[in-house]
């Protein structure tokens, strides 16, 4: 039985490179149809919010997928963990804060989680993804397939260590 993976991608498809997360999720949805041996749940939203903690409670592994203006191109992959931080600024939470909410509302440690941050550069309303972002998307897609094909924490950690 394959591990239950929750893929939580977020971003606004109409704001340039912010579409990177949703674009990757669109590919996963198509790809996963041909992989009934895998147990992957895809969750998409504009931004992370408290209720996403409920999407994660039964996951074996969690992967947050987002555009990242501070990442080195083409993307970064990192292990993350719950954190009581101050990322409640605006109406969105960080991946770390969502994991912390999981802990608080369930009383149990959140599932192991990683962040795939794909380098984005421009986020203007109504703009298409930039040429650079499209290139980063292709490389990140290859990485995402590697992760989903072998959903084991030690494997994901090893890959994250390479970044």
């Amino acid at each position: 039985m394959s591990a239950h993976v929750v893929l939580l991608g977020y971003g606004n498809p109409s704001r340039g490179d912010d579409a990177l997360g949703p674009a990757l999720l669109t590919r996963v949805r198509q790809w996963i149809v041909e992989r009934p041996d895998l147990d992957v749940r895809v969750v998409e939203d504009f931004q992370l919010q408290v209720e996403h903690a409920l999407d994660l409670v039964d996951a074996d592994l969690v992967l947050f997928v987002d555009a990242d203006a501070s990442a080195h191109a083409p993307f970064c992959l990192r292990r993350t963990k719950e954190q009581r931080d101050t990322s409640y600024t605006t109406h969105e939470l960080s991946p770390e804060a969502v994991l912390h909410v999981v802990h608080e509302i369930t009383g149990s440690a959140p599932p192991p989680a990683w962040v795939l941050g794909v380098r984005g550069e421009q986020f203007t309303l109504g703009e298409e993804m930039s040429v650079n972002a499209l290139g980063h998307l292709e490389v990140a897609w290859d990485e995402l397939l590697e992760l989903l094909n072998d959903p084991r924490p030690q494997v994901w950690d090893a890959r994250a260590a390479g970044w």
Partner: protein
């Protein structure tokens, strides 16, 4: 009185303090204070990076795409834009009255949005300030702090928001990017299974909403701040039904003044621009709407929960109506003017939405399949709803090829622009004048702005792009001090 602080007489000789961005406000906002050497406030302004490009984003698109397209304007209230655009597009296809099922489905969708938005704001943005105090340690003043010390409350907040999202998903088919509203109706019927799944939870949602109203009322009654914090007279604008009752989805425009006297009533929404104009000010990207016959100085108004409960003659759900009466009695039967009363009004509306959801789910029409109607096409359409944050206007014109050639949006936060500036000036004058600046004191200003739940529609959120920056700038424009609070500090 505080309007005097909008523009300082000699700004170049003053010290500038910028709070940027406002935390726990959707998108970017910045407050600047010009202080003299004794820290007396000479000028206070709320600057907002506005919805520039929204109209351009829509122009040139076929009208039937618009209800879906406008959901991309905002990550927090996409359903509100979807519904307002849907109503405007109804007019473009000549429809002024939907089928009973289509209208009730839209109302259900809207109440789901109202419930989840109000729950998010109170439990996760406002309650930390109210429960822990404006001056408490910054680490406690967030949702994580609430969860740590009020576990049940925070869990209820999460579950209420989740339920609202479930309502949206059931009606629209998806949690985001839904395509529920189509020209002249809805594109999906509600199934018995969907109805029953939601109905099983409504009793609990109503109970938690009642608890939230009581909590909010108790906190404000005990608050030393509430009687004086951001209290100022204003006009109020909202939709009401023909019988004067509150309606989130449809009705006529009603405006009342600070004493409760009617300025105008039951105005056809398609004629909104004969009653409301928008003023441009050089120092803000956001326009300042005002009631034309009162002028820009006296005609600004407030919208949103406080305005709706002040303006309406009643609510058509039992528990919420009882709470509305308590709310009005607290103001001696007159108009509530306290900025913090927004929170109380918001929770009463959340209860009203929860009760309304239950009623709609019990209505046999909600399972109907007659979803679309048609009429004689028109070249202009106006859609107005009461979004969670206040009255929302969508106005479109199309050409003979059905392409949008003109779009005008007045969003709730724009309607509250002057009121938020007024609140900033009021609080700055009351709490900051002559005092040493501290993070807690600066938070007072943020509390005042947050009460309006401004949605600056900045759904982009790339990691690492949202620090809190406070700058001290001297009279020559040189940054002499700077503090950055990164989201991951």
């Amino acid at each position: 009185m505080t309007r005097l602080l909008e523009t300082a007489a000699h700004p170049r000789s003053l010290r500038r303090v910028a709070i940027e961005p406002i935390t726990r406000v959707e998108g970017h906002g910045k407050v600047t204070l010009l202080l003299d050497e004794q820290n007396r406030v000479h000028q206070a302004r709320l600057h907002i990076v506005e919805f520039r490009g929204f109209e351009k984003f829509i122009q040139g698109r076929p009208y039937w795409e618009v209800p879906v397209l406008v959901q991309r304007l905002c990550g927090i209230c996409p359903v509100s834009h979807h519904l307002a655009a849907g109503k405007a597009v109804d007019m473009l296809v000549g429809v002024r009255q939907l089928t009973p099922t289509a209208e009730k489905l839209r109302r259900l969708l809207h109440k789901g949005q109202m419930l989840q938005s109000h729950a998010l704001h109170f439990f996760h943005l406002a309650s930390p300030d109210l429960l822990f105090g404006f001056d408490s340690e910054v680490e406690r003043r967030n949702i994580i702090g609430v969860i740590g010390e009020h576990t049940d409350l925070a869990v209820h907040g999460v579950m209420l928001r989740k339920f609202g999202q479930q309502v949206i998903k059931a009606v629209a088919g998806k949690r985001i990017h839904g395509t529920a509203c189509i020209p002249g109706g809805m594109n999906k019927a509600l199934t018995v299974e969907e109805r029953d799944t939601l109905r099983r939870e409504t009793t609990q949602m109503i109970r938690w909403s009642q608890e939230a109203v009581r909590l909010c009322r108790d906190v404000l009654e005990k608050s030393e701040h509430a009687p004086i914090f951001g209290v100022f007279p204003s006009n109020f604008l909202s939709l009401v039904r023909a019988n004067g009752m509150l309606d989130f989805y449809d009705g006529g425009l009603r405006a009342r003044d600070a004493q409760g006297a009617t300025i105008f009533d039951h105005v056809d929404c398609t004629r909104y621009n004969r009653y409301i104009h928008e003023e441009v000010k050089s120092w803000s990207y956001m326009k300042f709407p005002f009631i034309i016959n009162l002028g820009d100085e006296e005609g600004w108004y407030r919208v949103g929960p406080l305005a709706r409960l002040n303006n309406c003659d009643g609510l058509d759900t039992v528990f919420a109506e009882h709470e509305r009466q308590v709310f009005r009695e607290a103001a001696g039967g007159g108009m509530q003017h306290a900025t913090l009363a927004y929170h109380w009004a918001r929770m009463i509306e959340m209860l009203h939405a929860a009760e309304g959801i239950e009623r709609l789910l019990d209505d046999p029409d909600i399972l109907g399949t007659d979803l679309v109607t048609r009429g004689e096409p028109a070249l202009e359409g106006v859609g107005v709803i009461e979004a969670p944050r206040g009255t929302l206007f969508h106005h479109y014109k199309v050409d003979e090829n059905d392409m949008i050639v003109r779009a005008n949006l007045i969003v709730s936060t724009t309607n509250n622009n002057q009121a938020m500036n007024e609140a900033v000036r009021n609080v700055a004058a009351t709490y900051l004048d002559g005092n040493k600046l501290t993070e807690g004191l600066l938070n007072h200003i943020e509390v005042a702005v947050r009460a309006y739940d401004p949605c600056l529609s900045c759904a982009t959120h790339a990691l690492g792009k949202m620090p809190l920056v406070v700058e001290l700038v001297d009279a020559e424009g040189t940054v002499v001090d700077k503090m950055v609070k990164d989201a991951r500090d």
